[in-house]
Amino acid sequence: MGSQTANGVSSLTLKARCIRQSVVRSLAAAGSGHLGGSMSSADILTALYFSVMKHKPEDPFWAGRDRFILSIGHIAPVLYATLAEAGYFPKEELLSLRKMGSRLQGHPGRDHGLPGMELSAGSLGQGLSVAVGMALAARLDGLDYRVYCLNGDGELQEGSIWEAAMSASHYKLNNLTAIIDRNGLQIDGSTETVMSLEPLKKKWEAFGWNAMECDGHDFGSLLNAFKKAQQEAVRPSIIIAKTIMGKGIPSIEGDYRWHGKAPSKEQAEEMLKEVH
């Protein structure tokens, strides 16, 4: 898809804004759900779906597509908003989030038939292993698609993540890129208070990964990191994207209390005025 021109970056900014607005609207309609992480990941998803990944919204299971695995299923609202923005299904359907019979389950459920969903997920620590399996399959079949996996920072406290990390570098899966939404927060507060993760980049390097840090809200910085990941010849890559929980709604930015909360209808009205 698009190349990294100055114009491209500004169009990504517009896309991200639309996605954030959709997230606020769908969460307000649902009455529950995770706003904070959806906002911190919005730019990462925008970069992937509108610049980095090969995919065809009109042919969701096109064999040559790059795969996107959302390991942190609780930020499903931002994935749904991104898929709708990309044209996988009509945006109106975003208002059915978490409702009876909806294809937009609280956490991703493939069996409900939403186009573009690669994996049902929501129990933390599982997605990276699935991504490793997909990257291995691409190797076995001689296909050149890439696998992208979005992980949360709190999620890295799960031991299974590090099992997956070991296996990806063991098999030299340079077709795999993981992204950490490093917003520094989890439900109980700061990750460094709950269970410290730092020095995070060194940990991934020690596990044999091409580890990079970037500004998760700067498209130039994000696209540069993705480009370096594509150029890496041997190692799997990890992009530790520094982000801000609630990013794009100044009144809630950095507030961990918005991790697992949805805005009321009135709050949503105010937020929609703020979204940038």
């Binding site: 459920g109 493939r110 069996d111 690669e118 994996l119 049902s120 997920a121 929501g122 129990s123 620590g125 599982q126 997605g127 990276l128 292993s129 699935v130 991504a131 490793v132 399996g133 997909m134 990257a135 291995l136 399959a137 691409a138 076995l140 079949d141 031991g159 299974s160 099992e163 997956a164 070991m166 296996s167 098999y171």
Partner: protein
Amino acid sequence: MERFINRGNKATKAGFGEGLLEAGIANLNVIAIGADITASVGVDLFASKFPQRFISLGIAEQNCVGVAAGLALSGKIPVFATYGVFSALRTTDQVRISLCYNNLHVVIGGAHAGVSVGPDGATHQALEDIAIMRVMPNMTVISPCDASQARLAVISSVEQCHGPVYIRFGREAMPDFTSPLQEFIPGKAQLMHEGNDLAIIATGHMTWEALQAAYELEKEGIHARVLNIHTIKPIDEPALILAARECGALVTAEEHQLAGGLGSAVSEVISKNYPVPIEFVGMNDHFGESGPPRELMIKFGFTAENIIIAARKAMSRKGI
């Protein structure tokens, strides 16, 4: 019916390994995943024949299940085997979400089932795996009675099943008595011995014990029907209901905890459809221990003699 004869003792894990190799020869999408104890669970045959299709992931069972899910989502048919205490219990959350919720065709092998594992002791004797695996939506649970059936169970799981499958097998060489040419139909109970005085419903190694019990009872003029339930889920409801209707009393026999296993599955069907007395042979809320396999089976009550005692009790409760 002709009596079954032991053609020689053979571990069900050996049958599993042979079946995996055959399935791999027939279908190039079959991928085996190893968690270090490859030879110990019979996967070494496949691994040495198809090194390119064998993925070693080390002692990291949770990752093994996730990787299997990723391979299955990419059109492969992964077979992941290790001891049942790990493949079914350590990975329960991964099995639930990554495999079952996604309804992916992955075959999980659970080796070292039951106390017949022997000297390794309680930590490695899987006695809870059937209970855990059978409550998972979309999961098929298979427990073959001997090596010949284990071989066919793997081939069938690869070729005939669509969602996740758990196959349970043992470590110790045990009687190999079913025909290598038998037809293996997942979900279908196998009638092993005819009779209408009571029915013995058995699975795994206990099917051989059930047959020995039936042959003993025959000497006293008691005609016991023996059903081999090689597929615990989906269970063959018609065969169980017919056994209850025609025999009037049942005994279940399994090398597993009484709670949640075959006995529970049979009770769920019978209590709803045709209630008759049932007696249960299995592990009574206890861990196993170290010792020679046969002595452990005697100590914990996994023998034909235990089945005969249960049979008399079930029959005595008829019509009460």
